[in-house]
């Protein structure tokens, strides 16, 4: 999703938060200090009878012999509260049944994402950046436990054995819980001895998710479930169009609604505050707001696409990649194929709408939310509340999905909650509750884009040149993260396109930055979703135009990409590539590298005479380095494919007159169970460090589906979503 994040080093207020300066460098921190200051004793309601000992900031040994891993990454379903504890359990030689997880408090120095330099989750980096950090932390904690046992038993530490959470020497036995207090007094080793991967007993095996119990009996706590003494609920009337602001409002009818206590204007709109959600919502319904729409950009999707297409047709643009002499190669081509693609705005449409609880007490604040960028949320809230960021505590909660939505450079809904808290002088804790309509209409969206792809073929059907023009709005431009744009090109705009892996001698990728008032944001795999679709769908068409098998056509150009080759071959062998799919059926293949992982997918479809189709099966092969918890990897591939299928079938946010047309799941219609295909996931064995899994399952899907539909029907889809295009 993103690389090193640059933020202002001091609290941001609304005036200064667009000014970006560098944050101090990200030093690598080994998590074995004995300091407990960094680890906040958060309220999981279990500490009355259980005492705890922290062996560094990540490993907490409890007197009931459970081990709590302090998880610095949000769990929005991708399994960080299982995968990160698995790394710790492995190096600690713990028993899986004793492992627990708890979200880390917001503390950038201790819990930063080592790839970002700030505390945050995204870009499928959770495991990748934590891998060595947690192995070191756990191996250090293990050495401390061993040291404590050696001292207690008067034996050599080298003769102490740990297995399944039991520390032993001869007949002597002790649990972690029994040794923890002594262990805390042992100096951690400067360089903990890590296991050789051949010694792993937990990593790579099936480990049940640590959150399955709480998420199946209703006890898991999401932000929606947070209750604080005296807490009030805020529902906000947002502008109906992007760029509008409050001109005037009449709160009288809203205040007449029983339960409504206060109506306040904030920069984001009008907040109706009540002692319960239903009153707040009815109060908002009763509110009269006059909006100043003089600043509204009234262009709709059709106009925007026309402008995007015009930009592509112009000679202007930024060069994202240039290999060889594309113009000469096209001039010499035996055959040139040109195709135009369009992909729409997409909503994240997380099941849990945006929500945030805030308690502001003049000089300090506490926030409860599914925070994905704690450092940013903390700094922006601090700026609004005019307190020091260190005075803003964040209690990260399970998030009911994110797909990128909760990692917002301007912390939109956290800022909104802070603005409300400020407006009422912190007289009560506030829960900001977005309705589905807010969630779908107030931002954010995966950017729409237009593409022109051109391929030059020689007389043998080989690709001699490839040109890709992209018109898209930058996610980073105009945000506090704008400093991450390098050489004028937002990497999110061109990822999946500028890194085209095929050995084509002449390649040109060009970017036209578009400007709209529609707020855009990363969306599960970001640029790889649209660029992966158009490049791989177009590649498939070139293969078919050349009379070549799409798999062989790829393999011939991927000789320098062994991981791509391996996942393609694995998927192909598992799916039985090359077998005739049969009448009314079709099969397509695609491969894409994203977030350090490479995924190949083969899609089988059935299409009837009317053009109705179903996706019958998806065969997926993934190389994500060492698969720490393989079942979680499989679940992420399944979910990533389902997310891609959902978008490909029907999902589309359209803009009319500067506002969003869709407001709820009646018009924005995600995938349902009856449309879910069988999915068969295969993990390539690997000794490489773990890479991303939360996002990489999504990008290849749309192209493989489009290829399968073309195989079945001869019709190619150049516009997403597919909708009823095959029925036309």
């Amino acid at each position: 999703m993103f690389g090193k994040i640059k933020l202002p080093a001091r609290p941001m207020n609304r005036r200064s938060f667009l000014k970006v300066v560098g944050l101090s460098g990200a030093g690598f921190m080994v998590g074995c200090s004995e300091s407990t200051d960094a680890v906040e004793k958060t309220s999981s309601g279990m500490r009355s009878t259980v005492s705890t000992v922290d062996l560094g900031p990540f490993v907490r040994i409890n007197s009931d012999n459970t081990v709590t891993v302090i998880v610095k990454h949000l769990d929005k379903g991708q399994g960080s509260t299982t995968g990160l504890p698995a790394v710790v359990a492995e190096e600690l030689d713990a028993d899986w049944s004793q492992m627990r997880a708890e979200f880390a408090p917001a503390n950038t120095e201790v819990y930063k994402n080592l790839f970002f330099g700030v505390m945050g989750t995204g870009g499928s980096t959770g495991m990748a950046n934590s891998w060595m950090q947690l192995r070191n932390a756990a191996a250090g904690a293990r050495a401390m436990l061993v040291g404590a046992a050696a001292a207690r038993w008067g034996v050599d530490a080298a003769d102490i054995h740990i297995a399944n959470g039991v520390v032993s020497h001869g007949e002597s036995r002790a649990s972690f819980g029994e040794l923890a207090a002594d262990a805390a007094a042992i100096a951690p080793p400067a360089e903990p001895v890590l296991k050789d991967p051949s010694e792993f007993t937990l990593i790579g095996t099936h480990l049940p998710r640590l959150d399955s119990n709480a998420k199946t009996d209703g006890s898991a706590t999401f932000t929606l479930d947070i209750d604080r003494p005296g807490m009030l609920i805020a529902v906000v009337a947002h502008p109906p169009r992007f760029g509008a602001s409050v001109s005037s409002f009449d709160a009288a009818a809203a205040l007449d609604v029983a339960g409504v206590e206060q109506v306040v204007q904030i920069p984001q709109g009008i907040a109706v505050i009540a002692d319960n959600f239903w009153s707040a919502k009815k109060g908002r319904d009763a509110l009269t707001v006059e909006w100043d729409e003089s600043g509204v950009d009234r262009r709709g999707s059709d106009e925007l696409f026309a402008e995007y297409d015009a930009a592509l047709a112009s000679p202007d643009g930024k060069v994202a990649r240039s290999d060889g002499d594309v113009d000469a190669a096209f001039a010499a081509a035996d055959k040139v194929i040109q195709r135009e693609f369009r992909v729409p705005y997409l909503a994240h449409a997380t099941m849990e709408t945006m929500d945030c609880v805030i308690e502001y007490r003049g000089d300090a604040a506490e926030i409860w939310t599914g925070s994905q960028l704690q450092t940013v949320d903390q700094q922006i809230a601090a700026g609004i509340l005019e307190v020091d960021p260190s005075s803003v505590q964040i209690h990260t909660q399970f998030a009911g999905g994110s797909f990128g939505r909760r990692a917002v450079p301007n912390s939109d809904y956290v800022a909104e909650a802070a603005s409300i808290a400020k407006a009422i002088d912190g007289r009560a804790p506030i829960k900001l509750q977005w309705t589905r309509e807010d969630d779908m209409r107030a931002g954010y969206y995966r950017p729409m884009s237009s593409h022109i792809l051109e391929g030059a073929l020689d007389t043998d059907g080989n690709i001699t040149a490839w040109r890709h023009r992209i018109a898209i709005q930058s996610i980073l431009a105009g945000t506090p993260f704008a400093g991450m744009i390098q050489n004028g090109i937002d990497a999110s705009s061109v990822e999946g396109a500028s890194n085209l892996p095929y050995a084509i001698p002449n390649v040109h990728v060009r970017l036209n930055d578009m400007d709209t008032s529609v707020p855009v944001l990363w969306w599960r795999a970001v640029g790889n979703t649209q660029n992966g679709y158009v490049t791989e769908a177009f590649f498939d068409e070139l293969a078919r135009e050349s009379g070549r098998d799409p798999l062989e056509y790829r393999l011939a150009l991927l000789k320098d990409h062994p991981r791509h080759t391996a996942v393609l071959n694995l998927a192909a062998s598992k799916a039985g590539w090359g077998e005739n799919p049969g009448e009314g059926r079709g099969r397509g293949i695609a491969v894409l590298e994203s977030f350090g992982s490479v995924v190949a997918e083969i899609v089988d479809v059935s299409v009837d005479q009317q053009g109705n189709f179903s996706v019958d099966k998806v065969t997926c092969a993934v190389d994500c380095g060492i698969a720490v918890t393989p079942d979680v990897v499989k679940a992420q591939m399944e979910g990533g494919i389902g997310y891609g299928l959902s978008a490909a079938l029907r999902e589309e946010i359209t803009i009319t007159d500067g506002g969003v047309d869709q407001a709820n799941f009646d018009r924005y219609r995600p995938l349902r169970i009856n449309e879910m295909p069988d999915i068969d996931v295969h993990i390539l064995p690997s000794a490489n460090p773990p890479s991303g899994v939360g996002e990489p399952g999504t990008p290849p899907f749309a192209a493989a589906l489009a290829a399968a539909l073309a195989d079945a029907t001869g019709k190619r889809v150049y516009r997403m979503p597919i909708g009823d295009q095959l029925q036309a």
């Binding site: 998710r209 449409a349 399970f398 799941f665 995600p670 349902r672």
Partner: protein
Amino acid sequence: MAFKLNVNGETVTVDVPADKPLLWVLREDVGHTGPKFGCGIAQCGACTVHLSGQPIRSCVMPVSAVGEQTITTVEGVESDAALAIRDAWRELDVVQCGYCQSGQIMSATALLEQNPSPSDDDIDNAMSGNLCRCATYKRIRAAIHLAADKLEA
């Protein structure tokens, strides 16, 4: 207005507006936060609870319409089918973000209570009102079959 409700076998009295949806009464006035808010228009199923054993979308059910009917939430469902469903969900690690799963489990439990050996089509019919953006559908289907097999055994 005061309403007497039977929730998970207990009688509770709440004083709320007649049009307040059962979902918010359960969450804010009774204290059962298992049922979740997702859409408010009965399109996603995150709020599913049982009313006299039938799965309903509590986000659009005014509390005044409940009457004498028994209400069961994910916290209180404990039939053999419910236990089998929950066990199967855990055995197959169905959940991802988990937000929709209370509703999924209530719909799946109602299905198994009425149809001990559902086909794939039966599952589609019973479960297609419950959205899951993590797309755990494949495992939901497998877990329902697993629970049915275990109940039968």
